[in-house]
């Protein structure tokens, strides 16, 4: 019978059906970071429980470390170093692999894991971090869990999971120039709400997804959790396999061939049935920006702030009214009229090399507008080094951007650093929640192109205006 990609992954990993209706699912990789992983390791030690296989458990420093050049264990948040040092000590005792400060493999977990070949097609990957769904872009089943479940995964090599339903989101056709994977996912959540994927494992498919390079697929899957999905996935194809080949922890030699043979089966069969299907014409998508405090508050960049009085659902309307007041915007206002205080390029969503290249191409020969604070934080130390090798750091700094060490940074107060009170920020991150980036900070989520263009003009800007300008 025709199977979906998700069903294949589930069947490959199902150890047994449990008496209570859940399935016991084998976990291939556990990744930790110093905010939620530290507590899981400490808790296991306190309970005297041993890891089943430390070779399959990895940890990085990203959530608490600061990103200033020349950083140490100290952070702006006085207790930050306790997280860093506790994680380091626990990781050593547990015998897991840690990408510590100063290690060239350090970076944001969801950037580092694929980059090192730790996340592989066909693998189950969990991490006590909601954006673990990012790694599903490799044709993996990857999802975020809590610290207690991470303990369970490390001790038993499994998790007890109630099987989610399946959804396919098909992006037909082709994206227009200046439109990116970030715009695809914001467009989807804007159209179907932040709760639209609740209870589903989502597979992204269609010609526009197949055409995406690997790094853009990570961006697409990264925000599956913002759609409330259990996970996001993309079927394995040549793009996936070319990406994985030669990575440090990827299989080599005869094992590589054996692995590839299995990975080639990791796609939904012709005729496979999904519990829900959404079809979107990729050519209809424009650069997309959020205006409110939910990722679902997204509109095309040439659009206007919506009018809640036109919304029939009482709960959605109330949330919109609250968001309008918080964001200090009014219905009918053009988004491109909004002046910004800061621009941020970073996070597990949009800080890979291709993101930095796209932003740098737009910034080259231009300057950040006066009064705008602009910061670029590469997604990993590897990304930073690669960017520097091709001179991107010089483009960013010449334009007036700060160029930082890798970490989660101002996606949320990492290292205690944050944007200013009620500042308006255009950001490549994934969450525009109240006070996420700073006290009452007003976050507008967008692609690296939109952020770079907006940094230059000092107001939210359609990057295609500047791209056309460059062409002639």
């Amino acid at each position: 019978m025709a199977q979906t990609l998700f069903e294949k992954m589930w069947n490959i990993h199902r150890v047994t059906a449990l008496e209570d209706g859940a399935d016991l699912i084998a976990i291939d990789r556990v990744f930790l970071h110093e905010r939620t992983g530290s507590i899981a390791l400490k808790s296991l030690e306190a309970e005297g429980r041993a890891l089943r296989n430390p070779a399959l458990v990895f940890c990085t420093m990203d959530h608490i470390v600061d990103t200033f050049p020349g950083r140490t264990d100290e952070t702006l948040m006085p207790s930050g170093k306790d997280f860093i040092q506790s994680t380091r000590a626990s990781a050593r005792r547990a015998g897991i692999t840690l990408f510590d400060l100063g290690d060239a493999r350090q970076g944001i977990v969801h950037v580092v894991s694929p980059e090192q070949g730790i996340a592989l097609p066909g693998a189950t990957i969990v991490c006590p971090d909601s954006h673990t769904c990012t790694q599903g872009a490799l044709g993996a089943l990857a999802w975020g869990i809590g610290s207690t479940e991470a303990e369970h995964a490390m001790v038993t090599g499994t998790l007890r999971v109630n099987r989610p339903k399946t959804m396919r989101v098909v992006f037909d056709g082709a994206l227009l120039p200046g439109v990116t994977a970030k715009d695809m996912i914001l467009h989807l959540i804007g159209a179907y709400t932040a709760a639209g994927g609740g209870g589903y494992a989502v597979e992204f498919a269609g010609a526009a997804v197949a055409a995406l390079p690997m790094e853009a697929r990570f961006t697409l899957c990264n925000m599956a959790v913002e759609f409330s999905a259990f996970s996001g996935m993309v079927a394995v194809d040549d793009t996936t396999i070319d990406y994985v080949k030669g990575r440090p922890y990827a299989p080599k030699g005869p094992l590589w061939d054996k692995a590839v043979a299995q990975w080639r089966t990791l796609h939904s069969d012709e005729g496979a049935v999904f519990d829900k299907e959404i079809v979107i014409e990729a050519g209809d998508i424009k650069p997309t920006v959020t205006w409110g405090t939910s990722p679902g508050h997204a509109v095309a960049i040439d659009g206007k702030v919506p009018d809640p009085s036109l919304v029939r659902d009482d709960n959605l309307r109330a949330a919109m009214e609250r968001a309008l007041a918080y964001m200090d915007v009014t219905p009918g206002q053009h988004l491109t009229a909004l002046k910004i205080d800061a621009a941020f390029i970073g996070s597990c969503t949009n800080a890979r090399l291709s993101d930095l290249r796209a932003a740098a191409a737009l910034l080259k020969g231009r300057r950040v507008a006066q009064g705008v604070k602009a910061i670029c934080v590469p997604g990993s130390t590897q990304v930073k080094l690669a960017a520097e090798a091709e001179g991107l750091d010089k483009v960013f700094t010449a334009a007036g951007f700060e160029w930082r060490e890798s970490g989660c940074s101002m996606c949320f107060f990492a290292g205690g650093e944050h944007m200013g009170f009620q500042e308006r920020v255009i950001s490549t991150t994934n969450r525009n929640f109240e006070s996420r980036q700073g006290p009452e900070t007003r976050t507008h989520l967008a692609s690296p192109l939109v952020v770079a263009a907006s940094a230059v003009t000092g107001a939210i800007t359609d990057p295609r205006d500047l791209m056309r300008g460059h062409d002639g």
Binding site: A26, S86, T97, P128, G157, T158, L255, K258
Partner: protein, 210 residues
Amino acid sequence: MDKFISHTGVAAPLLRINVDTDAIIPSREMKRVSKEGLGEGLFAGWRYLAQGARDPNPEFVLNKPDYAGASIILSGDNFGCGSSREHAVWALKEYGIRAIIAPGFGAIFANNCIRNGLLPIVLPDEAVKALAASVEKDPQTNKIHIDLEKKQVTGPGGKVYDFNIEDGPRDMLLQGLDVIGLTLRHKADIDAFKAKDRLARPWIYLERGG
């Protein structure tokens, strides 16, 4: 793990959708490598007048004398969406919250609740709003009763709402089970599965050091 069998308590309405875990416990309030000391940071952005300070915002529901000692939260759809931080659950628990009633929950958050003896109850939006209306005249007297064995919520007027919860989470809460211990009863199955899987997918099983 703490048991949850039944509970009667003051219910505080926080009737907005998408209450995210950043709102439940902001990043800046997660100061120690510990599951403790988080109750004070619960809803810090809404509960206090200024960031970092501790002056209560009199408008916030949990600060109103009527809702003193609240142990149940009534909220909108998608409660606990966003970050996987289990600190959100530890903060709620330390504050004294035993159950949350909402039309839907963030999936990771709901799992985190169950692993910590906190009960997430899914009821339709109208039912949550009706419960909120039934307590608001005198919340200290008009308490809500929850019975997990019967899978029922009873409002102060005696109206009963049935709710669904999967058997697994229900058993864990009723019995306060050690989940890792429970799973390790299947250790023979796990060992057999992994031995077979190691032959089928040998590239998954790394040796230490890569």
